[in-house]
Amino acid sequence: MDKRPKAQEHERHSLKGAFVSVLLLGGFIAVSWFGVFLLFMSRG
């Protein structure tokens, strides 16, 4: 049975594109959250 660990199976191909994509997603979450936070603080 091929015991090549999954690490190598996946790490044969880069996942940098996926990584950057989720970072962009995270950035969107952060920007929108702080936007509403600032709105909240300005109205308080």
């Binding site: 660990p5 191909h13 996942l15 594109g17 969107f28």
Partner: protein, 559 residues
């Protein structure tokens, strides 16, 4: 189908055409779901036109009746029926090729109980006896028949769940030691979550609302009823989301020609959903009295935990696409985008659902952020939010699924023409939704309330300023209605498509030597953990509500 099948016979069975009896069950659910969507869509269109100041309603139907119908038909009926139909189809497909007689029987019992409940509830709403909106908050009192209708739908759905559990147990018995196929694992997880969370709404409806609405009890404890409802109301949205995730994890990789990124992490995500989507109802009650701030904050923390499996899912989706693209020679950070089958509605519609989940989820995080909730509570921002989540992410994924599911179970072909019509219908939906939802989010931040008919609050200047946004919402809503019409036409065409074979796409896992930890399938363990978490998150505040209970509220019919 109650005897064991050998491995090859099983594979043959699963690759074959759908058993006609199973096809009927699945189709009944799917078609009723789209019927509800159409009716609910008519209501939504009229609401949008009213709030945009375009029309006034004729006598005989009120705005809030339409709103009740829209919420119930879209958020309870369309969703539940489609989900159960879809889950039954996958159970049949990937566990034995056909349902056991027991599973099918339970499926039909569930269908009919839910269908009768739906019909009864709809009649109550349309005859103005239940103009209480789909959250039916006490102490507004609808006709007892409305609450009985709700109970029928919920109990029916339990029967549906038992059918799925029964089929799962049959397969496990005949495949001792084997890990369940991913679709079925996820289907069981979904219905387990549903069973756990519907206890809340069942208790409030059966113990509080029905006796109270019949006059057997005088008063109702409002905070308890709200808390029981929202104990149900939050996991309800995961009941919607998890089947969409099933499509994303199991179907979409097959559609694009790739493999499942990680079977183990996909199952882990679903276990995390079971655990953390339940003990969090207070984030829908952040502006209410009678709940100590520390318990609100604790449930906010637990809410944030349930974001994690979605962060995992985001990575898994991008990774699936990238690995497929790179295996075909894609280069650079985003070269893999070019390799995705944009012209295939089975991919395109769910993908648009995924994309829209980015702003949808971001909005949800804001909503749950404790005191930040006062910025958005009960404003049109919330309406914008859930039109992105359930009405786009989940709905588009379901639509994209229907385009192959209907021909797959009926032995017909998803023709290139129907595929193209599906792409068009999806684009129209996205356009309409972006127009409507963006406007809702914006005007909500400016303070415009949700669940409110046309008004300018006696020409209060800010309120006059909201009207243009509501006009834009009407435009978006009209475009959405056009998309619903297109969808209904496409479904009729699918039902009359040329006979043939349409694939039921179920992907294989990319893993080779990796084994998925068996602990993930220990349902008893996870269910027990949910109980622990619920007791932790709710016991003290709930006990305090009971302890400090006043006399309660008498019934009110304010419409």
């Amino acid at each position: 189908m109650d005897h064991a099948l050998t491995a090859t016979k099983q594979e043959q069975a699963e690759a074959a055409a759908f058993d006609r009896r199973d096809a009927s069950l699945v189709l009944a659910h799917v078609l009723l779901a789209f019927g509800a969507l159409l009716l609910g869509g008519v209501a939504g269109l009229l609401q949008g036109l009213v709030r945009g100041g375009v029309i006034t309603l004729p006598g005989g139907i009120g705005y809030y009746q339409l709103l009740t119908a829209h919420g119930v038909l879209m958020a309870l009926i369309f969703t539940t029926f489609f989900i159960i139909g879809f889950l039954y189809s996958g159970m049949a497909k990937n566990m034995g090729g056909a349902l056991t007689d027991t599973a099918r029987r339970l499926g039909w019992i569930g269908f009919w109980l839910m269908a009768v409940g739906t019909a009864l509830g709809t009649v109550m709403i349309l005859t103005n006896q239940a103009t209480v909106l789909y959250t039916f908050y006490a102490p507004m009192k609808a006709s007892p028949l409305f609450y009985i209708a709700l109970a029928l739908v919920v109990v029916g759905s339990w029967m549906s769940g038992y059918g799925i559990f029964s089929h799962y147990r049959w397969w496990k018995k005949n495949n001792k030691g084997k890990m369940s196929p991913l679709f079925s694992f996820m289907a069981v997880a979904t219905m387990l979550l549903w069973q756990i969370c519907t206890i809340g709404v069942a208790v409030t409806v059966l113990v509080q609302f029905i006796p109270w609405s019949l006059g057997w009890t005088d008063k109702i404890h409002v905070m308890i009823s709200r808390t029981l409802f929202w104990y149900f109301g939050h996991p309800l949205v995961y009941f919607w989301l998890m089947p969409a995730y099933i499509c994303w994890y199991v179907v979409v990789p097959k559609v694009i020609g790739g493999k499942i990124f990680s079977d183990a992490l996909a199952r882990l995500a679903f276990v995390l959903f079971i655990l953390f989507s339940v003990p969090v109802g207070f984030h829908h009650q952040l502006t209410e009295p009678g709940i100590a701030p520390v318990w609100k904050y604790l449930q906010v923390i637990l809410t944030f935990m349930v974001i994690i499996p979605s962060l995992m899912t985001a990575f898994a989706m991008f990774a699936t696409f990238e690995l497929y693209g790179r295996s075909k020679g894609a280069k650079g950070l985003f070269g893999w985008l070019k390799f995705l089958p944009w012209k295939d509605v089975r991919f395109f519609a769910p993908f648009m659902g995924m994309l829209i989940f980015i702003p949808a989820g971001a909005g949800g995080i804001i909503n749950a952020s404790h005191q930040l909730n006062t910025v958005v509570h009960n404003t049109l921002w919330v309406t914008g939010h859930f039109h992105l989540t359930v009405a786009t992410t989940v709905a588009l994924t379901f639509f994209g699924t229907a385009y192959w599911l209907i021909p797959a179970v009926t032995g017909r072909t998803l023709t290139p023409k129907l595929n193209r019509l599906g792409i068009i219908q999806t684009i129209v939906w996205v356009v309409g939704m972006l127009i409507m939802s963006l406007s809702m989010h914006t005007v909500g931040l400016l303070g415009a309330p949700r669940r409110t008919a046309y008004t300018t609050y006696q020409d209060y200047p800010d309120a006059l300023g909201w009207i243009p946004y509501q006009v834009v919402m009407a435009v978006g809503g009209t475009v959405l209605f056009v998309s619903i019409i297109l969808l209904v036409i496409n479904i009729v065409l699918l039902l009359r498509a040329p006979k043939g074979y349409t694939e039921y796409p179920i992907a294989e896992t990319a893993e080779t030597a990796e084994r998925t930890p068996r602990i993930l399938e220990r349902w008893g363990l996870w269910a027990s953990l949910v109980v622990v978490l619920v007791l932790f998150a709710y016991t003290v505040p709930f006990a305090e509500m009971l302890q400090h209970a006043g006399p309660g509220s008498k019934p009110w019919v304010t419409w």
